[in-house]
């Protein structure tokens, strides 16, 4: 496909904004958005073109209780984030602070935070991009419904006889929870249980460790933590 064709760019971007892409096409398109500013701009332009449709509904004053609830949640969150800041990486044997220099945190921006809506899978709710210190993308991780998708960007080879294992770092400061082995190329997915889904929703971030081939024998990270990433939720 010639992605430089302006009409193709308009069409694909419009279909993306409408949520009219198959899961595979969408994943491909989202990868394209990472590297093509012109496509990212076209997506924004389509949103700008179409949002006036949403402004046309008759305005209605929401009940006062919505603001009161919102205020409570925002205050609670502000408290939680200031009290957890010091302890977030302090447990579970993961000395993340030490790898901060080797890790690069990135939160995907709104281009990717605009999941299209497509039939079988509900829109993704959380994203993380794992990159090298130089900013080279290694894996794109997203949760869609109960499925966690892990896309390798190109070929990511672990050291001989080793595997890369993905962990989530629970917001509560509890031990890291394994999300499975990362693919060295292509895509892998993992079904999330209710408990894992809840943990993921409040997780502080993701980490990747080098483990013996096949994964950690103990259920906890045993090797070096080579990447960490923040989670951006939608």
């Amino acid at each position: 496909m010639n992605y430089d064709n302006p009409q193709l760019r308009e069409l694909l971007s419009g279909q993306y904004v409408l949520g009219h892409m198959s899961a595979r096409a969408r994943a491909r398109f989202e990868r394209l958005l990472l590297s093509r500013a012109d496509y990212a701009r076209e997506v924004t332009d389509w949103e700008e073109r179409l949002t006036p449709m949403l402004y046309a509904a008759q305005p209605q004053k929401p009940p006062r209780r919505v603001w009161r609830r919102l205020q409570r949640r925002v205050k609670k969150q502000a408290k939680a984030s200031s009290s957890s800041r010091s302890s977030r990486f302090g447990t579970g044997g993961l000395a993340l602070a030490g790898v901060a220099t080797a890790a690069f945190l990135i939160v995907l921006g709104l281009y990717l935070a605009r999941p299209p809506v497509i039939t079988p899978p509900p829109p993704p709710s959380q994203y993380a991009m794992i990159t090298t210190q130089q900013g080279v993308a290694r894996w794109l991780i997203f949760a869609r419904g109960r499925t966690m998708h892990m896309h390798a960007v190109g070929h990511v080879a672990p050291p001989a006889g080793k595997s890369y294992e993905l962990w989530m770092l629970p917001g509560s400061g509890a031990n890291p929870v394994s999300l499975g082995l990362l693919p060295t190329s292509g895509e892998a997915s993992e079904q999330l249980s209710d408990v894992m889904l809840t943990t993921l929703n409040s997780a502080k971030g993701l980490a990747v460790s080098v483990e013996p081939q096949g994964g950690s024998p103990t259920g906890q990270p045993t090797g070096a933590v080579v990447f960490t990433a923040a989670i951006a939720d939608i």
């Binding site: 009409q7 308009e10 069409l11 419009g14 279909q15 904004v17 409408l18 949520g19 009219h20 701009r41 924004t44 332009d45 949103e47 700008e48 073109r49 179409l50 949002t51 006036p52 449709m53 949403l54 402004y55 046309a56 509904a57 008759q58 305005p59 209605q60 004053k61 929401p62 009940p63 209780r65 919505v66 603001w67 609830r69 919102l70 205020q71 949640r73 925002v74 205050k75 969150q77 502000a78 939160v107 921006g109 709104l110 281009y111 935070a113 605009r114 999941p115 809506v117 497509i118 039939t119 509900p122 829109p123 709710s125 951006a232 939720d233 939608i234």
Partner: protein, 197 residues
């Protein structure tokens, strides 16, 4: 890049946009009074839209609350190149609403008149506090949607406003999926041409 759409963001200063950006910057710094002002400014319009899609007040209230929690948490991620603040916020609300619809699918369906009334001139005109540019954009979009065939127009609106998939639209019209795909493709091309014409 569509010059007409983004004229305000790039060229002539837009006081309303500048104010919204200031409020968002306040949210990013953790200022709840900025969130309150943003809420006061946009919640009636957002709530009207959410009610229109979700029909039930308790669902629209939940969606509105979730939308503002997200705005609060993501304020620091906003950049002008991701569109205007209002577009950014309505996009968050739109996906929030789809998400909730999908959880309870398909308890709610779209009544044909709610589609027809979506862009009524009188509802748009009733928003006295709406800046002129927004009103002009709504009218322009309406004009361009009116220029589409009925199926093309409905396909775009069902998808964008109500989060319907191509399969659902095909079902709605009892038309083959391939036909719906071509309606949408043609509609997108014609819309863009008309909006930029």
């Amino acid at each position: 890049m569509s010059a007409n759409v983004n004229a305000g963001a790039e060229g002539t200063p837009d006081p309303q946009e500048a104010l919204l950006v200031r409020r968002l910057a306040g949210c990013a710094r953790g200022q709840t009074n900025d969130l309150e002002k943003l809420y006061a400014a946009l919640s009636p319009q957002l709530f009207g839209f959410l009610l229109r899609i979700l029909h039930r007040s308790e669902l629209a209230e939940e969606a509105l609350q979730e939308t503002f929690v997200k705005i609060w948490r993501k304020a620091a991620d906003y950049r002008a190149d991701r569109g205007r603040v209002k577009t950014w916020i309505f996009t968050i609300a739109r996906y929030q609403a789809y998400d909730m619809l999908r959880r309870g699918r398909r308890e709610f369906t779209v009544e044909p008149d709610s589609l027809a009334g979506l862009l009524d001139a009188d509802t748009a005109a009733s928003q006295d506090d709406e800046p002129l540019r927004s009103l002009a954009e709504t009218r322009r979009l309406r004009h361009c949607l009116d220029a589409l065939s009925e199926q093309q127009r409905a396909s775009i609106m069902l998808a964008y406003v109500h989060g319907h998939t191509q399969e659902e639209i095909a079902h709605h019209f009892e038309a083959p999926l391939g036909t719906v795909k071509s309606w949408v493709r043609r509609a997108l091309i014609r819309l863009k041409r008309c909006l930029e014409g």
